[in-house]
Symmetry: C2
Subunit: 222 residues, 2 copies
DNA sequence: GCTGAAATTTAGATGTGGCTAAACTTCAGA
DNA sequence: TCTGAAGTTTAGCCACATCTAAATTTCAGC
């Protein structure tokens, strides 16, 4: 609803949404700048614009928070992105580690009609190929609590749900070893100081490096 | 190859290509402006930019002509556009008269990988849903000689190949009457002064208004 | 409470692609 | 050949989203 926004504004809304989910409290200009890979000055001026559009509340020098309208913009783009990822992977056979970049540009030009046709064709899926939840048509998203695999101790059981950032190399590495979102695992052993985590998926135990284990989001066995 | 160009530059290249096909000789600034729905001043400055990029040759006050590089840019975009139209119509069931607008924005963000996957999925089609030829991967296009249906006289036979511009209302009107590219017809009668053309498609004779008849491109029976 | 480093914002620039208004070219008709 | 209308280009402006450099604010540590 309301005025259409530019791709840049959509990207900022998406970034702020994602930062709000992780950190608590207001999102800082610096965090946005880092996420968007622009200078802090650029982020600052875009924040001012988003505030002018009513998409964020901005307390100068204090940080930024999405308004309900800003949340809508963010979730709409995220819905586009994740539907597209799912569609590209499923219908066109785009490799798991390539779908993110393709979706990143397509998400901004996807019409509502096409969005709906794609969603219908896929049977209204709830998760993308990375395991991230897809907001529903009315922009409700199922954000389960997940933790980093790295934070678990030996003996824990869980389900690998997604990779928190979209590093193609990590995705490829996991895909090659047959590890995908939804797979259950058990932590067999864990080395201290960022050392590898030994996790058993099915019959096989994999040594997962510190960075990888930090990026892997898991749901604890209830 | 060479530097990537902006969406705007791609659109101008496409427009100039299309204008070159119709009129003979150099393409005028005014024609480009009208086609792009911008002022002549805007077209003029973009022409200067295209010339700087080596995509057109520009004789000031005289007109513009695509260079081989400009032709490549145009054909690449046209390939994207027409593959997308075909894909949207065939795989996603987008209505015939809507595919043009959807493709218009998607064509600029389609990666080469996705283009290839789409082409393969469709079995490397040679024509889009409007009957326009799709340039091959190496940018060869089969531009048959077509004439306007309006230019035919009573008694002529031909095959309807496409609508020269992409007016949704015209496309819808034809679709409703079951007239599609590839259909053969015979001119039964023709009124003078832009009056209707009576064309028989199958068993039915349709009265086609002057504007519509002018937009319908046909191949004459050999 | 002061103070300096870090974070943030402002100032002023750039490049893209539009616009209007004004100047300039071309060319057909008198 | 001259002249005016049509076509084209230039000049100068705007919005967008970025940048660097220079202010400004915040806050932790003394």
């Amino acid at each position: 609803m309301s005025h259409p926004v530019s791709s840049a504004v959509e990207d900022y809304a998406k970034a702020i949404y994602s930062l709000e989910r992780r950190k608590k409290g207001a999102v800082t200009t610096n965090a946005i700048a880092e996420r968007m890979e622009v200078t802090a000055a650029s982020a600052s001026s875009m924040v001012k614009k988003l505030a002018g559009l009513g998409l964020v509340r901005h307390a100068p020098y204090r940080g930024v928070e999405l308004t309900p309208r800003g949340l809508e913009v963010a979730l709409e783009v995220i819905r586009h992105h994740r539907l597209l990822e799912r569609y590209l992977a499923e219908e066109l056979g785009v490799p798991w580690d390539r779908v993110h970049d393709e979706a990143e540009v397509l998400e901004h030009v996807l019409s509502e009609e096409l969005e709906e046709l794609i969603a219908a064709k896929l049977g209204h899926p709830t998760h993308d190929p990375h395991g991230d939840p897809i907001p529903s048509r009315d922009l409700v998203i199922d954000e389960r609590d997940t933790v980093s695999l790295q934070s678990l101790d030996a003996g824990s059981n869980g389900v690998f749900t997604r990779i928190s950032d979209s590093d193609p190399a990590m995705l490829r590495w996991l895909a090659e070893r047959g590890i995908a979102p939804g797979d259950s695992f058990k932590i067999v052993d864990k080395q201290p100081f960022g050392g590898p985590v030994f996790a058993q998926f099915g019959q096989t135990t994999h040594a997962l490096g510190g960075e990888l284990a930090a990026a892997m989001r898991v749901e604890l066995e209830r």
